[in-house]
């Protein structure tokens, strides 16, 4: 028997039938009664219910118990509830331990009732064994830095930043592109209201850029993140723009000067057109500044930054065309520029990750042919929008080069006839890469709606167009969405339940589409001028890297994983880091905005008090036992351990605001001088021994 006065209360939950249906509660209760130091054993239908908690509180108040073991469901969801109950009744809440006899026992062994009962006994015995060794702990507080970093300047990032900035928090918005705006800036209209994307987005871009509490750091990426909630130390690398942004006015003179040889596919137009090596991301860019793409630049003056210009025979320097064109000298190549850009260090209390998504390239889908007239939906978006490569004129994509030539002539005041072909038939194909085990098993969620939107916009503008849409099934959940679908049907757009399995090029660049109509149960064929693939929304390529830097999780599908699908949808496993928008999973604009605002408010409510309660389940060094070998120092993932002088000797010491309680140090310490509170060596070993001995608790 232990010397201390330990009175353990064991509370067994039936969880309705969930536990009682497989575990013989009476037998388990009888067993528990005979465990050492157990003073009270009770069972109840729902231990977590109010009356259930009251049973525990009553026993504590009456002094019957001073350690609580609840045998119920998983501590991952219910430990906090019961801890609070203990606290309410006046017991240190760390005198609580849980045995998981539902999720890990009754449910898993539903058809082996006897064995489930046996296992439940052992699990309870292990919990009791641990409970005997529990120690009272006090919550601690950490000071919080009230700045927030928002990673990603798309619609989600913008809203998160604005909400926080308006609430008085300083926000650093880090965007990897030269301009904020994200994918939404590429869209023509937005469902379900069909309002112009630019019209609703650009004012917000300006607002966030001009907000006194927001600091934009565009063309920049997160390099490293250290520290933890309340005290993140972030290094952001601002990429080299090769243009002096202080001087650049965004006039665009340089863009036209950039020679044709230096043209590369324009990312903003999804590769439908070309841009120069020096470019402004798009006309409405914020900040509207030019950057030079060093990979695309052909150094046409034979000069790079910091190099002496070559000179003409009469000694005049030969300048690069962009340099020459720039009215403010922002493009000057006189000074050398560090290709690595600039490293900016930020101290923030919280981080919101809203890095968005990318759409799958059509290249991987060989079955839909390599024709330029098979395009992704995002390309279609660029094709129909007035800011797109064709100024919204609908022509087949294979004729865009013709269009651009024609436009050049017209701009130069020449007369010319545009010979581009206008499509008569457009086919939409859904679930390209989504709901497909070869690519992504998830549904990309917005494709049905944006396909309907594009079809609707097209049909309204060009009623003579024949539009065919192939869906595995149409998913238009929620308010206003099915009504939108209805509108589309009423426009006479032909909708098929069934997937397109093949698109074959015809000699005249038109496309033979092979689909299936589940309604008639027949294969169908048609000739289409354009085929639009609703390619899947997928995580950005570098999302995993970013997640690793941030120490947050990525799901099997590659998106950032939220702490809990239902209850903590914008939280991550790392406290203080929140997620919003498509980085978390495919979603539409309203959902992204809602999530962004949720993330902002989560960050705000976390930081507003200025300090935060932290569970004391962290490690502590016993300096008497510590031999100062320092293994722990290097192993600590949070740099929380340092060597300090103690009685003239070097000993390790843990910084409790940095420690997250992983226990790596405790495990590594050869003399076990480090204790991880809540999971001490003695506690874990007591559990292990008890289970190893099949429920027999060994006296120590």
């Amino acid at each position: 028997m232990s010397d201390k006065d330990i009175r353990i209360g064991v509370y067994i939950c039936h969880c309705g039938e969930n536990i009682a249906g497989a575990v013989n509660i009476n037998e388990v209760a009888e067993f528990a009664k005979n465990l050492p130091d157990v003073a009270v054993v009770r069972d109840y239908l729902f231990m977590c219910s109010d009356p259930g908690q009251e049973i525990i509180k009553e026993d504590i108040r009456k002094g019957l118990v001073n350690r609580v073991v609840v045998a119920a469901c998983t501590p991952r969801t219910h430990e906090p509830i019961f801890r609070r109950a203990c606290e309410d009744a006046g017991l240190n809440k760390y005198y609580f331990e849980m045995a998981n006899i539902r999720d890990q026992c009754s449910w898993a062994h539903w058809h082996e009732k006897e064995k489930a009962t046996e296992k439940a006994k052992q699990l309870i015995a292990a919990a009791v064994a641990k409970a005997r060794l529990l120690e009272p702990l006090e919550d601690r507080y950490v000071e919080l830095n009230k700045n927030v970093m928002v990673v990603g300047g798309g619609i989600a990032g913008i809203f998160a930043a604005l909400d926080l900035a308006n609430a008085g928090f300083k926000v650093y918005m880090v965007e990897k592109n030269p301009s904020i705006g994200g994918n939404m800036a590429k869209l023509d209209k937005t469902f379900p209201t069909n309002d112009c994307s630019a019209c609703i987005l650009t004012p917000l871009m300006v607002e966030v850029a001009n907000h006194p509490n927001v600091e934009l750091i565009t063309y920049a990426e997160v390099e490293s993140v250290d520290g933890s909630v309340g005290n993140f130390k972030v290094k952001v690398r601002k990429k080299q723009t090769y243009v002096d942004w202080e001087k650049c006015t965004g006039c665009g003179a340089c863009i036209n000067a950039c020679p044709p040889k230096a043209r590369v596919p324009d990312e903003f137009n999804e590769g439908l057109s070309l841009r120069g090596a020096i470019y402004i991301q798009f006309p409405q860019a914020v900040p509207k500044k030019a950057v030079i793409d060093p990979d695309a630049c052909i150094r046409c003056s034979g000069r790079w930054f910091g190099e002496e210009p070559r000179r003409t025979k009469d000694g005049k320097p030969i300048l690069a065309p962009c340099e020459k064109a720039c009215p403010t000298g922002a493009c000057s190549r006189d000074e050398p520029r560090d290709p690595n850009g600039e490293l900016i260090e930020l101290n923030v209390g919280s981080i919101i990750v809203a890095t968005g998504y990318k759409v799958m390239d059509k290249k991987q889908f060989k079955e839909f042919s390599d024709s330029p007239n098979v395009i992704t939906a995002l390309q279609m978006e660029r094709l129909i929008t007035a800011t797109g490569p064709t100024e919204g004129k609908l022509i087949v994509p294979s004729d865009i080069p013709k269009y651009l030539e024609w436009k050049k002539k017209v701009e130069k005041g020449k007369e010319a006839e545009l010979e581009a072909r206008k499509p008569k038939v457009i086919t939409f194909v859904s679930c390209v890469g989504s709901r497909d085990n070869r690519y992504h098993t998830y549904c990309s969620r917005v494709c049905c709606m944006y396909m309907l939107k594009q079809a609707m916009l097209l049909k309204e503008k060009y009623p003579e167009l024949d539009i065919y849409m192939f869906f595995i099934d149409v998913r238009t959940p929620g308010k206003d969405f099915d009504e939108y679908y209805m509108r589309c049907r009423n426009l006479g757009i032909k909708i098929f339940k069934g997937k397109v399995g093949g698109v074959q090029k015809l000699p005249d660049e038109r496309l033979l589409v092979k689909g299936y109509d589940a309604d008639l149960g027949k294969p169908v064929e048609l000739i289409s001028d354009i085929v639009v693939l609703a390619t899947a929304i997928e995580p950005n390529t570098d999302l995993k890297d970013l997640a690793r830097k941030l120490g947050i999780n990525v799901g099997a599908e590659g998106f950032l994983r939220e702490r809990h699908t239902k209850l903590y949808p914008v939280d991550t496993m790392t406290e203080g880091i929140f997620i919003a928008g498509c980085a978390q999973g495919p979603k539409d604009i309203p959902d992204s905005v809602a999530q962004a605002k949720a993330a902002a408010s989560s960050a705000a409510s976390l930081l507003a008090p200025g300090k935060m309660k932290v569970e004391p389940l962290i490690s502590e060094v016993n300096p008497e036992k510590c031999t100062g070998c320092g293994i722990c120092v290097e192993l600590c993932p949070y740099g929380a351990i340092e060597m300090v002088e103690y009685n003239g000797k070097r000993k390790s010491k843990i910084n409790e605001t940095l420690c997250k309680g992983c226990g790596v140090c405790a495990a590594a310490c050869p003399s076990k001088a480090i204790t991880l509170h809540g999971f001490t060596y003695e506690q874990v070993v007591a559990q292990i021994r008890t289970i190893a001995k099949k429920g027999v608790i060994e006296e120590v």
């Binding site: 993932p637 309680g661 992983c662 809540g678 060596y681 874990v684 070993v685 289970i691 190893a692 001995k693």
Partner: protein, 151 residues
Amino acid sequence: MIEGQEEGKMEEWEPNIIVIACNWCTYQAADLAGSLRYSYPPTVKIVRVPCSGRVEPEFIIEALINGADGVLIGGCHPGDCHYKNGNYKALKRFELLKSVIEEFGIEPERVRLEWISGSEGLKFAEVMKEFNDTIRKLGPNPLKWKEINSV
């Protein structure tokens, strides 16, 4: 001993398996397996630790010495550790421990390290079944037998 008798005895014998699971992945996977009603042998009992990096070789030694027939450490997949890289550290300790027990004549198959993420409920159940089969084939923990015999 007559062969048949031994076999009969073996049939009655059920392995005793301890899983030391990290709170963020494998423990969650076990919960998920339960909530999806994937069944696995009830011989498996889980001890929760915050991170696989918390697992000390002594935990495994204690489990084996005190009679567990198999010990499985469950952690997050490489790169997914909630504590950045505790799982890598766990792996090293585990490899060392495994070679030690092997040298002393305890079948290394009695200890196993698995990366099971929180969403892999099915994998959890499958790994448990497989591990249970492995242990069943190996038979009772010889340490336990030795101790009992020596009494």
